[in-house]
Every structure is written in C-alpha cells, then in structure tokens.
C-alpha cells in the first residue's frame, strides 16, 4: 500500500468521516474508514487523533470513537435536525444551525430549553432562519475549548 503524506491522509480521513455522518447520521469507526479507503488501520487511528488534537472532531476520551464531528453529533443530544427523511443530532444550538449550513439544505430543528425543558421549534426555511428565543452561551469564546463538552 503506497505511503501517503500525513496531511493528505488526514484530509482524506476527515472527508470520509463527514461523508459517512452526513449520509447515515452515524460516525464511522476508524476500522471502517480504513477498510473502505484501503488504508492502514493504525494510520487512520492516528488521523482520528490528529483531527481531535486539531479540534476538528471530538473523540470519546481515551478512544478513537467519534463523539462529535461538528456540526454533527455521533451521540444522542437534545438538538435534533431534520431535513427531508434524514435527521442528525447536533452538539449544541449553534451546531444545530451548522448542519443546514454545512449541507446546504433547509431543516427543522427540534430542541428543548435547558432551563424549562420546554420544546423549541426553529430552523431554516427557504434559506432563512425562523423560531423564537435566544441562544445563551455560558462560556466565553476564548475558553470554548478549555472543556468543549461543558461548553
């Protein structure tokens, strides 16, 4: 198997992750990306860790399992984004709008208020955002990545 420059490999792995999660709503395991792209499994795992270190994706602590590939979440959250017959989870409200932005579609967002747990309906229709309410962030921007899961 030919060797690949690291950056090219990491880029290929990143695209494989995003194509998979966009298409299925599920993040691929490193072994599946390796098999599907005829890459060395260890090199794909290294690429996963490099993407995590670069804050492109977020891995489950101590593993190469993807928790988030922002704006997508590989795990269940309160932010569900629906477009046609497809749906995805997003890590947060900002990312919930990030999904229709990234895949260039209108979408309905189902969420819940963090305080009252009241359902919130918002989204994008004909390219314009709709919905009531505000998005309240607790962590200042300079510290988003101090603990991104808390943020």
């Amino acid at each position: 198997m030919p060797e690949q420059p690291h950056d090219t490999l990491v880029g290929e792995v990143r695209m494989a992750i995003y194509v998979a999660i966009e298409g299925t709503g599920r993040a691929p395991a490193a072994a599946d990306v390796a098999l599907g792209h005829r890459l060395e499994p260890a090199a794909v795992e290294d690429a996963y860790r490099a993407l995590d270190a670069a804050h492109v994706i977020v891995l489950q602590t101590g593993t190469t399992e993807i928790k988030w590939a922002p704006p997508f979440s590989a795990v269940h959250t309160v932010f569900r984004v629906r477009a046609g017959r497809s749906s995805w989870f997003a890590p947060c409200a900002w990312d919930a709008f990030g999904i229709p932005a990234a895949i260039e579609v209108d979408a309905r967002i189902e969420a819940a208020c963090a305080w009252s747990h009241e359902p919130i309906q918002c989204g994008v229709e004909f390219g314009r955002a709709y919905g009531d309410g505000v998005i309240h962030l607790l962590v200042p921007a300079a510290h988003f990545w101090d603990d991104i899961e808390y943020t």
């Binding site: 709008f97 990030g98 955002a129």
Partner: protein, 47 residues
C-alpha cells in the same frame, strides 16, 4: 447570547465550507472577524 438569525448567520460563515475537501479551521483572526461580522462583539466574544 445570540439571536436565532445570528446563529444562522454564524453557522453559515462557520460551517459553510465544513464538507469541502479543502476545508481548514479558521485562524484566530478569521474567527474573530466572523464573530464581528455577525454582530457578536464585546469581551465575551474576544478570542
């Protein structure tokens, strides 16, 4: 805090290229400029 229209505008600028092969994360300066263009200013939004 941001309004829903701001969140959409921010999301488009932040994630609009995420699925493109040549995507790269914005630099600190680029990120700051995105925040400012969306009207997200002040100490909370300083990087």
């Amino acid at each position: 805090m941001m309004t829903i229209p701001q969140a959409w505008e921010l999301a488009q600028k932040w994630y609009g290229t995420r699925l493109e092969p040549d995507f790269r994360r914005p630099t600190k300066e680029e990120a700051q400029a995105i925040f400012e263009r969306v009207g997200l200013t002040g100490a909370f939004w300083e990087l």
